[in-house]
Amino acid sequence: MSAGSSKDARPLTWESGLDIKPVYGPGELEASGGSGAIGQPGAFPYTRGIHPHMYRSRPFTMRQYSGFGTATQTHERFLYLIKQGNTGLNVAFDLPTQCGLDSDNPMAEGEVGRVGMAVDTLADMEEAFDGIPLNEISVSLTINGSAVAIMAMYFALARKRGLDLATLRGTAQNDILKEFVGRGTWIFPVEESVRLVVDTMEFCAQHAPKYSPVSVCGYHIRESGASPAQEMAYGLAIASAYLRRALERGLDADRVARGLTFNFDIYGNLWEQVCKFRAGRRLWARILRDEFGVEDPKSQQLRMIAGGGGGGLTIEQPENNIMRGAYYALASALGGTQTMALCSFDEAYTIPSEHAAKLSLRTMQLLVHEVGLADTVDPLAGSYFVETLTNEMEEKILEVMADLKERGGIVQGIAEGRVQAEVSRHAYEREKKLHSGETKKVGVNIHREEEEERVIEFHPFEQSQADEQRARLAAVRAERDPAAVESALSALGAAASSGANVMPAAIDAVEAYATVGEVCGTLRGVFGTFDEPIRF
């Protein structure tokens, strides 16, 4: 075997469509656009990260996704996570809550408290966050279709505790456009859904400036089939769509841009992820400055949560997912994330056990305290390979965004189902490559163990918890003032029809203990529901 001979180097192309050479040097870097755009850490265009000292001054926030059953159980898990060293909470809600249905709705049967915490009224939020200081712990609410109701509850809870909303830190996911592409908890038609997102952006810009009302999720688009370049392109296009509408409403670009955060996926090739983050950060800063006139450096910075990609995990040989998680965490740290959340090794098939969730947290702690990932800023900077591919990745992302724009933009593409069809086509191609062995997956199509005994400990679902939740809901319904609920809901309906911001009326309604189902039902009455286009 002769080292370095050209026949040793088989062609290699990343999922994003970038061809990879066996060796990179100054010539390749120059050809890709040079090193001029790297810049300094903490300075425009933020290729090297948004803070001058990154993890040396503050390691990334570690925030595991959690929540299940009733508010009481979720509360216990929250306290456990905080005790274990989590510095933020990432709340999972059950599907009825996410779809704007109450626990006693017939469609909710079998789903109450299953994949997250069941929330019907403010009383559930009061119990879940009992004793947790909302102005100290940063809380992320994973809620989209029914975000108006749940965000209203969070703000109502703070208000009841006498907290100024301006002191609240945290984020709501509240990225409805990606729900139409993947994840699927949409409720209202596309345009009306986007309008509600902009209502929350406006409300936060005015009353809760440190609270981030939208976390744009390339994550779920990637999970649904998109390549890393498409993930970033669609994510930035979606963020631009929200921002454009907010500006059309006369909001201040610097202020609104600051409230947009991002959630990205990590699995697959380590370098491809790192280049995706470095290129995306640079591109977003340029888009904000050049297209939206955002001038405040703080507002130009792409802040993100990036961690575990569920899509990379396998049900085969599940312990392999522990190692995958560690490499994804490495990619996340090398990519300069602000917050990390890893998928736990059992997450390919169930809600993480306490043990698995703890291993994920320990993985992140290990990176910071033992392995040296916090030693210096953007350690890959200046690498011929990484800088060349960061340049090429940026070009690729721009290409996808230009194509999207040419075909009518992301909002129209989603409303017509074209974006969904494109992403699902990629998922199908990916599946075929996995099946043919073109894409290698350890334990799945190579080093497979056919005789493997698969013992899965499934997260228990207790019917009694659902019954308990319905009883809690019935009790709240019996105790509240029906006239107050009715008048608050009719004010909400009026705001929705008139085009006024729905948030103040939604907060009043949930304060009167209107349910998630009632708040979303009122909005359904005004907006109707999304009619899913089926395209292949």
């Binding site: 599907l95 009825p96 996410q98 779809c99 249905l101 469609m107 909710a108 049967e109 079998g110 789903e111 299953r114 994949v115 729900e179 993947g182 994840r183 699927g184 908890t185 949409w186 999970e223 649904s224 089939g225 396998t314 049900i315 085969e316 390919a348 098939y349 169930t350 699902s424 086509r425 998922a427 199908y428 599946e431 075929k432 099946h435 799945v444 698969r454 899965i456 499934f458 997260h459 679902f461 899913e532 089926i534 292949f536």
Partner: protein, 136 residues
């Protein structure tokens, strides 16, 4: 033996919005020359059974990843019986632990295809089922 394409309905019952797998299965069946009707998300068991019956589907596939596969399958099975679709071969895919396979079989499910099942297996199963039906 007719040359009419095999007809399959793929459905998402319940509230779970994870449709990547369901759409992959749809594409694989379409590529195999079958006629596929995909219901879209969050369809009620009645609506799903109605679609399967009115489309005269040979196979009805349910995709569930939330863990609610047992109650949802039972409801769809009951709705099929009620609407005169007891003959439709019911298959279930998604995040289904092996310990639930027997319970699904008891509900009259013809086959279970958990996450990471190769597409060929599903295509082959549907073809075989259709062949059995047409020779019966």
């Amino acid at each position: 033996m007719t040359n009419a394409p095999i007809k399959v309905v793929i459905a998402k019952p319940g509230l779970d919005g994870h449709d990547v797998g369901a759409k992959i299965v749809c594409r694989a069946l379409i590529e195999a020359g079958m006629e596929v009707v995909y219901t879209g998300l969050r369809k009620s068991p009645q609506a799903i059974a109605q679609t399967a019956v009115s489309e005269d589907a040979t196979v009805l596939g349910l995709s569930v990843l939330s863990g609610a596969h047992l109650p949802l399958t039972a409801k769809v099975r009951a709705a099929l019986a009620e609407l005169g679709g007891a003959e439709v071969a019911l298959i279930v895919g998604g995040n289904i632990p092996s310990q639930d396979f027997a319970a699904l079989a008891d509900l009259g499910v013809a086959a279970v295809f958990p996450t990471s099942t190769p597409m060929d297996e599903i295509v082959t199963f549907v073809r075989r089922t259709a062949a059995q039906r047409s020779s019966a």
